[in-house]
Structures are given as structure tokens and as C-alpha cells.
Symmetry: C2
Subunit: 388 residues, 2 copies
């Protein structure tokens, strides 16, 4: 018999599986080309040419010694390049000692949580949220505490105030946000940070800020993603190349730590140790070498922007209400009729697959993922337009 | 402040770090070429040519769609090839549904333990043991229970009998064994399996057998590694290409499940779910594609066999007592004077770095790792010979 918790967690999340299965069933019945799937956050984009050029280059380096274990933190030269990049782009001034390569952002987040959490420690998560966070926190004996953002999906300090207490060990931010596309602005972040500093004093505790930023480059209208990691000492920056290089299957990212964090060396030692003991051991060696050479490369954001504009215009014109997303490849409109589960079912009848807001802890909405082809998007929009 | 457990675990394992630091210090003082390091299990061998050929081939496949997320279990075609390989080599008859690609063996073991363990469940580990196991078990709320093997490092049922009880959820095997080089023979394994079946009945519980076999191909004198996974229904086979293709940095392996396991589908769903929630998400995509084409390829085992024979002959001639290893790239001799910590210090004075048996829960021994160059080995042997 497997773990009771895992069995329960699978059971609880089985509605998502059922949804996917229903989608697959639909595709079988009607043909995949007649089902319009906007439910998946799995980019169909291919990695840029430079990625393949580097693969070829590395295929000729047979004596590099670079497929062995390296330091659990990752290759030092790659970490140094990241430090320069973070500095040049005014994200963070730090040193390579404070950078730990990770198996994507999912790996990085698990490593951080394993490092900082003791049983019963609480982690505040702003909703709507990327639903994997709840599992990540619970993996490491933590308790997830939800704090709702406001109607525009912006940080709401009052709601956090209600949830913060002396057991609060961390708060997780995800900006640009999955599922809302929201980017928190500098003013709001400063407000949050003042609040956190105040609470750290009050509780005489470290309250870590974990900023998960895999969509950092996927932003629109020249919007700036404020570098929250450099604004608050006790903060972690978590990055992944899954979106910016369209290589999510290859699992590569990193953690950068604010060098002014309390007991920073102990924390970083913890990250390195936990990278090892969680079985990651180190981030995939070949991918480390590749991303180290591609720090200035990203996929064409215009590709997503066109899709975003198309859907936003079509659906608002049809009568849908939604916040115009500032980043990511998601839209999070209000569900007509306000019952998101029912609405998702209605969409399914029209052979359009979307995810109900309930999956992100915000009912009355649904998530559209537009990292897919235009034909799917056009057909889906046409059908969704009929459902308002 | 980081987790109390992690802080404590780092503290407890800091003697290993101190040892490495002392080694690095020695190298700084005397020059790396004058320090003979037999402490690391990090092969200096490069991957075979076929590995690089495949990298080159894949660098030309720019529209493969294979750098995206795939099923959390891994690419189906790769898993099917593994199933054929396991069948052809009489390791296990199973189906691709029962194979989950992993981030090396370390990743696979964590995924299994997360799947099966509830808080307080016990896992029996045979000593001497690969010391990472204790962290893997504790990551997932389990309790490590040690059972000593006998003087020849063979399975000792009586010792297991003393430790098994109704809380026992699993037993971990590692054959060929790190650090001893022992391969358990079929007779002994059958004895163990009869015993486990008996205990399952008695406690009316599943007791899983987790067989960690990253050294499966690194064996000598045509010895056969019995396929224990096919001999016991409730068993997991954990594999990694770290040793057989000399690519430990690239983190690729898999879990194969005996199809007759109780509630096998629930267990496999658990493995897939835990691969996802632990942040692995999936095994690195590019490496999956590569190993799928290299199932019949291994590094030259003769390379290790020569080194093993050289050291074994030199040291036994000098008066060291040791079991002749049947596999891996380790030797585990008795420490002259019986105090392994003292002996390791004496070796360090001779500028030879080795690991004390205490690190593997068997005092009075030391581990030699010979996945290094001949010059290091020759010099180390010459110096060790003086210390008997």
C-alpha cells in the first residue's frame, strides 16, 4: 500500500486527470484536430537555433570531463556567468557562491522548501496560484496557507495580515503569474516588503520570500518585472529556462540568493545539501553548459504577444470580462454564469478544453493557455464567443 | 534560520566535508599531483563515442517536439525499449506502464520512498551501506533501521529478523554493493525473499524490496547479478546510467516495477505523481532520448577490472585483508589496527585520501575508490603498503 497522504493527494487531484482523460476521449471521438485544447501549459514552440548549435558544438567535446559529477551547486563558470547576467540586468548583485543550479524551477522550489521548513512551518501562497505549490510545501512537512489577491489579482496586504503569524516561514510569489498573467509592480512589492520586515521584527523570525519567476521574460508592452529579490534581504530568486528557451523537458534552472540574507552561508549550504539528498544531486550537466552560453537568448515573445492580443480582443468583444495580462501565456477570464466548473463543461461540449478557476483556488474564472497553434486558438475563440 | 533537521544533518555529515577540505588543503600545499585521492566515486572516464554521436544527431532534429514536457513517466518509446531490454536480459518481464524514467538512481529512490512512506514507516538498510540512503528515507518521513551484513558482507537473515516488524515498509538492497563490491547470489536472495514473504503474511502488510542497481554492469569474472526484481512481487528495480555510460552529471535512470506487485497500478500512479510533485517533473528529455539508443552500450568494464586486480594484488601482498570485490569500482579492506578513523589519518599523512568505514556504518574498514587514473592508484598503493 502506498503512502496514505500520496493516495489521498492523487485522489484529490484526480479531477484534473479526469478532465484530461475526458479531453483525450473527445479527441478520440472527434479527431484531435476537432478538439481545441487550451488547457496545457506546455509550449509547442521549439528551442531557438542557438540551442541546437550548442548541442552540436558539445557533441565534439569528447574529453571535456563535463559529464561527471560536479559540485552539487553546479558548474562554477556557469554560475559566474549567471551572476554577471543578474548584475547587468539589475536583478541582483550577488556572487557565484549564492547561486545553485537546479532541475528547473520545480526542483529549485523543492530544494528551498526542504532547506527551510520544519514540520508545521507555514508557507503563505497568494491565490490564484500555480497548484503544484501546495504539493511542494507539503513534501517538506510544511503547511500551505492561502491569502487571496484582490479582484485585479494584485497583492492584498490585509489578506496576508490575516494569515501571517509566528509560524510563517515563507511567502511564495509568482510574478508574472500563472494563471492570471499579473505582474506585481514596484510600489506594491515595496508595500509587501515593508510589511514583511515589520513582521520579521514582531515575530523575531526570518520570513523568507521565494520569488518564482520562470515567466520573467514573457512580458508585454515593455513592462518591467521589478527585481523583488534585491529589494528584500531574506529572499530567493528561482528561475527556469523552460519558458524562455522552450525546453521544459530538459529541466534546467537555478536559485539565486540575496547575499544579505541572514546566515546566508548556512542557507546556501542547506540548498546545496538538499540538492544532493533530494536525489537531484546536481542540475543536468549538459544543460548547465548550454544555458550558460544562452543567457542573452530568449524565444520570440512577439509570438505569444500576438496570440494574447488576438484572444483578448476576441473574447472581450464577445463580452468576457478579464484583466489584460502583463505576462505569461495565460489568460484568466471570469466564467460567464460564475460557475467555473459548469462553464468548463459547457466549453467541453463545444470541444474546447480549458481549466476551471477552482484548480487555482479562485472560483468563477477559467484559465486559457495560449502556448499553442493559431488554428486551435481561432477555433476555440469562435466557440467560446458563443458561450457568453 | 534553516530547518533544524537539515542544520543537524549537515552538522553530522560535516566530518566528510572536513575530510574533503583537508584533502583540498593537502593538494594546495603539496600540489594536486602529489596527493593520491581514492576517496571519490566520480568516474574520470569519458562517455563512449556513441553518446557523442547521438548528441550530434539530435542537434540536427530541430522540429522533434522532444524538448517539451512529456508524460511525467517519460517518453513512451524509450520506456518500451527498456522493457524489451529487461526482457531480453532476463531481468524482468514487465510493460512500459510499469517503467518510470528518473533523474538518476538518487531521483528514482526518492520518488519510490515518497510514494510508499508514511510518517514513522521503517526502512531496513543493510550495512555497510551507501550513506545517502539515510537522507533519502528521512526526506520522506521514514525511519532508517540498520541490519548488519555478515563478515563477508553477505545478507544475514538473523540480523534482519531482529529489525523487521509491522512498521517495516521496505528493505533496500544495493548489489553490486557500494562500498563493499559484494554481489548477492541467487541462493541468498531466495532465502531473503522467502523470509520477506513469510513476514508479509505474518504482518499482513506489503514489505517492498527496493533494489538499487547502478553498478549492475560493472562486475568481474563473468559473475551474474541475479534479477531480484523478478523474484519477488513487491519489488522495485532502480537503475542509473551514471556508471555504465559514465554520465553521472547528466542524471538519467529509471524505475521498473514488478508487474505482480500488489495494487501495482496505484503504486505506479504514485511514482508518476511523486516524480511530478518532487519537482523532477520528468527525467531530462534529451538524456532520455540518448539512453534509449544506448541500451546495449556500456563503458569498458576491463578498464576497471585491471585497476581492481592491481590494487587487490598489491594490497593483499602487503598484508591487507579484504574480500575480493565482485563488482563496482570500490574495495573495502580491513583497516590495519582496526581503528578506521586513525588509519585514514595515517594515510592522509602519506598523502593518500580514503574514506573510513564509519561513513558506511562498518567500523574497522576503509573504502578505496578506483575510478581514477593509474598513476594515482600506483602511488597510493605504494604508500598504503607501508602502513600495514
Amino acid at each position: 500500500m502506498i503512502s496514505k497522504y500520496i493516495s489521498h493527494a492523487i485522489e484529490k487531484s484526480s479531477w484534473i486527470r479526469k478532465m484530461f482523460e475526458a479531453g483525450n476521449e473527445l479527441k478520440k471521438i472527434h479527431g484531435a484536430e476537432n478538439v481545441f485544447d487550451l488547457s496545457l501549459g506546455n509550449p509547442i514552440l521549439e528551442p531557438p537555433d542557438q540551442f541546437f548549435d550548442l548541442l552540436k558544438k558539445l557533441s565534439a567535446e569528447k574529453e571535456s570531463g563535463k559529464h561527471r559529477y560536479m559540485s552539487n551547486a553546479g558548474f562554477i563558470d556557469v554560475r559566474e556567468k549567471i551572476v554577471s547576467y543578474l548584475s547587468k540586468n539589475r536583478i541582483l548583485e550577488t556572487t557565484s557562491d549564492n547561486v545553485v543550479m537546479s532541475c528547473g524551477a520545480g526542483g529549485g522550489l523543492n530544494v528551498i522548501l526542504r532547506t527551510i521548513l520544519d514540520q508545521g512551518d507555514e508557507v503563505i501562497v497568494l491565490t490564484p496560484f500555480f497548484s503544484e505549490y501546495q504539493f511542494y510545501v507539503r513534501n517538506h512537512h510544511g503547511k500551505v496557507v492561502f491569502a487571496e489577491t484582490d479582484e485585479n489579482f494584485d497583492i492584498n496586504i490585509e489578506n496576508i495580515e490575516k494569515k501571517i503569524n509566528k509560524k510563517t516561514k515563507a511567502i511564495m510569489l509568482n510574478s508574472p503569474n500563472n494563471p492570471t498573467g499579473k505582474v506585481y509592480d514596484e510600489k506594491k512589492l515595496k508595500e509587501l516588503i515593508d510589511f514583511l520586515n515589520q513582521k520579521q521584527k514582531k515575530f523575531n523570525n526570518d520570513i523568507y520570500l521565494i520569488s518564482d519567476e520562470p515567466y520573467r521574460e514573457i512580458v508585454y508592452d515593455n513592462i518591467n518585472v521589478p527585481p523583488v529579490v534585491s529589494m528584500y534581504n531574506n529572499s530567493f530568486f528561482v528561475y527556469s529556462w523552460s519558458k524562455s528557451l522552450a525546453i521544459p523537458g530538459n529541466r534546467i534552472g537555478y536559485i539565486a540568493v540575496n547575499p544579505n540574507m541572514n546566515q546566508v552561508q548556512e542557507v546556501v549550504n542547506g540548498l546545496i545539501f538538499c540538492t544532493r539528498i533530494l536525489g537531484f544531486v546536481n542540475a543536468p550537466a549538459l544543460m548547465q553548459q548550454i544555458v550558460g552560453e544562452l543567457l542573452e537568448t530568449t524565444i520570440d515573445v512577439g509570438y505569444y504577444e500576438k496570440k494574447k492580443n488576438y484572444i483578448y480582443n476576441k473574447l472581450t468583444k464577445a463580452g468576457y470580462e478579464m484583466i489584460k495580462p502583463e505576462g505569461t501565456f495565460y489568460l484568466f477570464p471570469k466564467a460567464p454564469g460564475n460557475d467555473d466548473i459548469k462553464f468548463v463543461d459547457r466549453a467541453k461540449e463545444e470541444k474546447v478544453l480549458i481549466v476551471p478557476g477552482e484548480g487555482f483556488a479562485r472560483k468563477g474564472h477559467f484559465r486559457i493557455s495560449y502556448c499553442t497553434d493559431d488554428r486551435t486558438i481561432e477555433n476555440a475563440c469562435e466557440r467560446l464567443a458563443r458561450l457568453v
